[in-house]
């Protein structure tokens, strides 16, 4: 499959702006460095030509931005949806979080995004990055230009990509892919196979690093509550900064439960975590359990689908049986 290029996106964005289809464009713009790309709204051709970027670091999921942007805007907003973003897009529509009529969605094929951390682990002192068909050419302070294969720096979530199929769009750039039978649950399974003590040790090691910056929540496309329970004094679990380690602990469990059945497994939580905690492994555990107990379900695969936790059958497994199921598998 041909990679989508910046030029293609700009051409499309300018075309839709100038013919009046949309009045704004949700896109990416360069940050301080070539790899810290931030989402931005463009309203003129000029802004786009100057600021719009698209490269291997444009992993940010835009769906969530539509909740706020569509409310404020007159006319339509253009959004580019990678396959994983399109699932979040549908999920938000299922939850009536924005008006579909106010969005013009362009699906874009995706060959996987790069992981900044992986890149930094390989290369020190990044000055700038150039892209080529066969890899990245990184200009560095110390080692001159270093060539890096895409495969070496591909993000975990892209290696275990669940789908290259755009499930929502008004128009598609490039070719559509297929849903992939990915190995994304392997890591969860290997954790499940551990003894409780080993699992405890693993999670203690991971979660003790949390600095409670809320980045996971802020990036999560399922976390679009008008008022987050962690910010709500009436909820009983309000806490902005860590008071006790224990309250802290609850944060990730509650958050994972809150998005259970709604999480599309886009991987944004892990991507944005400054402490590199594999938060997606919590969400995937719920997804894996729900798939195994209640039948395959992919949040966002279709608009209006009924998530497992707001559904039931009379013959569901008992909570105790869910454990036993794990034992039989092991």
């Amino acid at each position: 499959m041909q990679k989508i290029t910046r030029d293609q996106l700009i051409t499309k964005a300018v075309e839709l702006l100038s013919n009046g289809t949309v009045s704004a464009v949700l896109g990416w713009k360069k940050g301080e460095f070539d790899y810290d790309i931030t989402p931005a709204v463009f309203t003129t051709e000029e802004e786009i030509n100057n600021g719009f970027v698209y490269n291997d670091f444009c992993g940010a999921n835009f769906s969530k931005y539509l909740v706020a942007k569509t409310k404020k805007l007159e006319g339509k907003i253009l959004v580019f949806l990678k396959p994983c973003d399109s699932y979040s897009f549908n999920q938000l529509l299922t939850e009536h979080r924005f008006d579909r009529e106010k969005v013009y969605a362009v699906g874009i094929g995706c060959e996987g995004m790069a992981d900044v951390v992986k890149l930094k682990n390989k290369v020190d002192g990044i000055v700038s990055i150039d892209y080529n068909d066969d890899g990245m050419y990184v200009d560095t302070l110390y080692d001159g230009t270093v060539k890096v294969d895409y495969a070496e720096v591909m993000a975990e979530r892209c290696i275990n990509c669940k789908s290259k199929k755009c499930v929502a769009y008004d128009e598609l750039l490039g070719e559509d892919g297929e849903v992939i039978d990915s190995a994304r649950f392997d890591e969860v399974a290997s954790l499940e196979a551990m003894t409780p003590d080993e699992r405890f040790a693993f999670w203690q090691g991971e979660l003790s690093r949390c600095i409670r910056c809320n980045a996971c929540r802020d990036a999560c496309p399922a976390c679009t509550c008008e008022k987050c329970v962690f910010d709500n004094p009436g909820s009983g679990v309000e806490n902005k900064a860590p008071v006790t380690s224990f309250e802290e602990q609850m944060f990730h469990i509650i958050r994972a439960f809150h998005v259970a059945g709604r999480c599309t497994d886009c991987g944004e939580c892990s991507r944005v975590c400054p402490q590199n905690i594999p938060l997606h492994l919590l969400n995937r555990k719920f997804i894996k359990d729900m798939n195994e107990c209640y039948g395959e379900y992919q949040a966002g695969a279709e608009v209006g689908s009924r998530a497992p936790l707001v559904d039931y059958t009379e013959g569901d497994l008992e909570p105790g049986e869910v454990f036993e199921r794990g034992e039989n598998d092991a």
Partner: protein, 664 residues
């Protein structure tokens, strides 16, 4: 801050025997908000209640904690006490220190310690209690009865006689249902038509009853006391107000070869038809699938002969919207299809019939004018075999039969067998049965008469195979008592087919948000104590839609449902349970999670305008709970991701406070 009074009950020695009540009262006095604490021998006694009332007045209490027996016992009592003292009744909490403390623990220190903790939890909760007022909603004083069989007819008559208007919606062109098709009724053998048709006439002439025949319910909105129902009146191409039911059109119609549903397809009717002579309303209906005028625009004979000018080929389906306070479901039953039981050769021989077909064969208004003749050749049958439990009590094959007992078959088969022997003494009649079930007044006596006086051969065993050969039906069966296999060359075989709920019931249940069991029978609010009410408030059940029933049972349930409806319609206003869910619109995401889990359809969504801090306005989709429909289970509160949904009386912060108090 609340001013809370704590009242610890001794319950004689029931509590005081294992719990140091004074210590409890003492300890709870130190809890935040508590301004008064005392103990007494019997709090529920008049003296105890007066003590509470006095304390409320004296100490200006705003909340009450009673440490006593289970709230299931005396919560209502102490709420009344609070009301008598001028407090909101929902400012009372009970700490259950009897059933869940003194009675299950033996040692005083342990019991006392736990009682104090339970008391603290109750205090913590009351601190967060708010006065609650039950909502009120008006009642539309009109009832809807869905289904016009004997169940619907009886319910409608009883409600109408009490003075409330009733509408009956019936899918067929006439009311009457299955009972109209029956010949005689067990165990008295009175003629079904003789007892049913006067009731049908009563319905037709009752000034409080309207009949929507050839109609169905297509939409139900609203809630108890306030249902909005859409009824589709299917086009019958005859103006009901003009048709006199004279039948001239029926005679003249050239399209005469259409299976007659009323006679179970055993004879034919014309394309324009009146189902039977006593039909109500006695109005003709055109079968659009059979009429050449409607299909090809050629014919028009009925219009030409109709003196009243009632024929209207251009008639369209009509939709009627009406408001009701209560809905009674009386959708009835049907025999199951015999397709999957072809070991009995139902599809192969016209002389293998179902019991309902047998009813028509013996009915004077039936296809043979009541003479028992074989459908294949019109000959008089001599050997007749009845097979019981065809498709009933069938556990291995869900797609074939039904696991339950159909209840009515034993008795109607005894009736068929007896009547056959009575009218045709030259016949040999066999009944194959698994068990004969006759629990009813005069039922077993009736069955025994069939055997002892009428000489019906009851054989314990089942028919395994029926082989039509030439003009006989070779019946192969077991006789378990004599341990033999029997081979009978029968002339006619009658299958007692299992009965199942009418197919229209399932979609109707969805519209009504009324629950059903796996067999598609409507579930009752309580199987013992509320058998004629659906769990959905304002929806009542009458007849076989709730489970297999015979006529007397159906009629008594119909009356019971009617009395429940009357009880509801008598009220001018309904007061609800104030412990219902409510949504904080500022926090609601509009995601529909709550709506999806609500078993009562109590939650709806509206677009609402909000003023934002920056003075702009924003339209958001938000949930709102109808307090008249909500029953207060709280399922929505957990489904809600933002915590916008909360349950009054069991609010998130109240339960958390209890948790904290217990875990402190």
């Amino acid at each position: 801050m609340q001013r809370i009074g704590v009242f610890v009950c001794w319950c004689g020695s029931n509590i005081a025997g294992t719990v140091d009540v004074k210590a409890v009262a003492q300890a709870l006095k130190l809890e935040p908000g508590v301004v008064f604490s005392t103990d007494y021998q019997y709090m529920c006694s008049q003296a105890g209640q007066n003590m509470i009332i006095d304390a409320v007045k004296e100490h200006n209490l705003t909340g009450i904690v009673v440490c006593s027996c289970s709230p299931r016992m005396h919560e209502a009592t102490f709420r009344k006490t609070a009301a008598a003292a001028g407090l909101n009744p929902y400012m009372v909490e009970i700490a259950n220190i009897r059933e869940q403390c003194s009675w299950v623990h033996k040692e005083m220190p342990i019991g006392t310690e736990k009682a104090i903790i339970l008391g603290k939890a109750a205090v913590a909760k009351v601190n967060l209690n708010t006065p609650l007022t039950p909502g009120e909603s008006p009642v539309t004083k009109r009832a809807l009865v869905i289904g016009g069989g004997i169940a619907g007819i009886q319910t409608a008559l009883d409600i109408a006689d009490a003075g409330f208007p009733v509408d009956i919606v019936e899918t067929k062109p006439t009311i009457g249902g299955k009972m109209a098709q029956l010949d005689k009724t067990f165990p008295t053998l009175d003629c079904a038509a003789c007892i049913l048709t006067p009731k049908m006439v009563d319905v037709a002439q009752h000034d409080k009853i309207r009949i929507f025949s050839y109609s169905e319910v297509t939409e139900v909105k609203g809630f108890v006391g306030n249902f909005d129902v859409t009824i589709k009146k299917k086009a019958r191409f005859v103006d009901e107000t003009k048709c006199t039911g004279c039948g001239d059109c029926v005679d003249k119609c050239p399209m005469k070869k259409n299976p007659n549903e009323f006679n179970m397809g055993m004879d034919n009717r014309s394309a324009i038809y009146i189902p039977f002579a006593q039909a109500v309303p006695k109005v003709a209906t055109i079968d659009a699938g059979a009429c050449t005028m409607l299909k090809k625009g050629k014919c028009g004979l009925c219009s030409k002969v109709c003196g009243a000018g009632a024929i209207d080929y251009t008639q369209k389906d009509q939709f009627i919207e009406e408001k009701y306070g209560a809905i009674v479901v009386a959708t009835g039953f049907n025999p199951i299809s015999m397709d999957k039981f072809d070991e009995y050769a139902y599809s192969q021989s016209k002389d293998v019939i179902t019991s309902l077909e047998f009813e028509r064969l013996t009915n004077a208004a039936g296809p043979t004018q009541g003479k028992l003749l074989r459908p294949s050749d019109g000959k008089h049958p001599h050997k007749i075999v009845f097979v019981q439990c065809v498709g009933s009590r069938c556990a291995s094959c869900a797609e074939k039969g039904k696991e339950y007992c159909s209840k009515i078959c034993c008795m109607y088969t005894a009736k068929h067998a007896m009547l056959t022997r009575d009218k045709y003494p030259d016949t040999e009649v066999y009944v194959f049965y698994i068990d004969v079930r006759t629990p009813g007044k005069n039922f077993d006596e009736f069955y025994r008469r069939a055997v002892e006086e009428y000489g019906v051969n009851y054989i314990k065993g089942m028919v395994g195979k029926i082989t039509p050969e030439g003009d006989v039906l070779k019946v192969q069966a077991s006789d378990l008592i004599s341990n033999k296999q029997l081979h009978i060359d029968a002339d006619l075989v009658v299958l007692a087919a299992a009965i199942e709920p009418d197919k229209s019931a399932r979609p109707l249940a969805t519209m009504l948000t009324a629950s059903m069991d796996t067999n598609d029978f409507f579930t009752e609010a309580h199987p013992k104590l509320r058998p004629v009410e659906s769990p959905t408030a304002g929806v009542f059940l009458s007849g076989a839609c709730q489970g297999p029933k015979d006529i007397p049972e159906t009629v008594s349930q119909a009356g019971a449902a009617a009395s429940k409806v009357i009880g509801l319609l008598c009220k001018d206003k309904l007061t609800g349970n104030p412990c219902v869910a409510s949504s904080n619109e500022m926090m609601c995401n509009g995601c529909s999670s709550c709506e999806r889990v609500c078993p009562y359809g109590a939650i709806t969504y509206t677009d609402k305008e909000f003023r934002m801090p920056d003075r702009t306005t924003q339209v958001r989709r938000v949930a709102s709970v109808n307090p008249a429909v909500c029953q207060g289970c709280g399922c929505c509160t957990v489904a809600c991701p933002s915590g916008a949904m909360d349950l009054r009386g069991f609010a998130n912060n109240q339960i958390m406070a209890e948790v904290d108090a217990i875990c402190k």
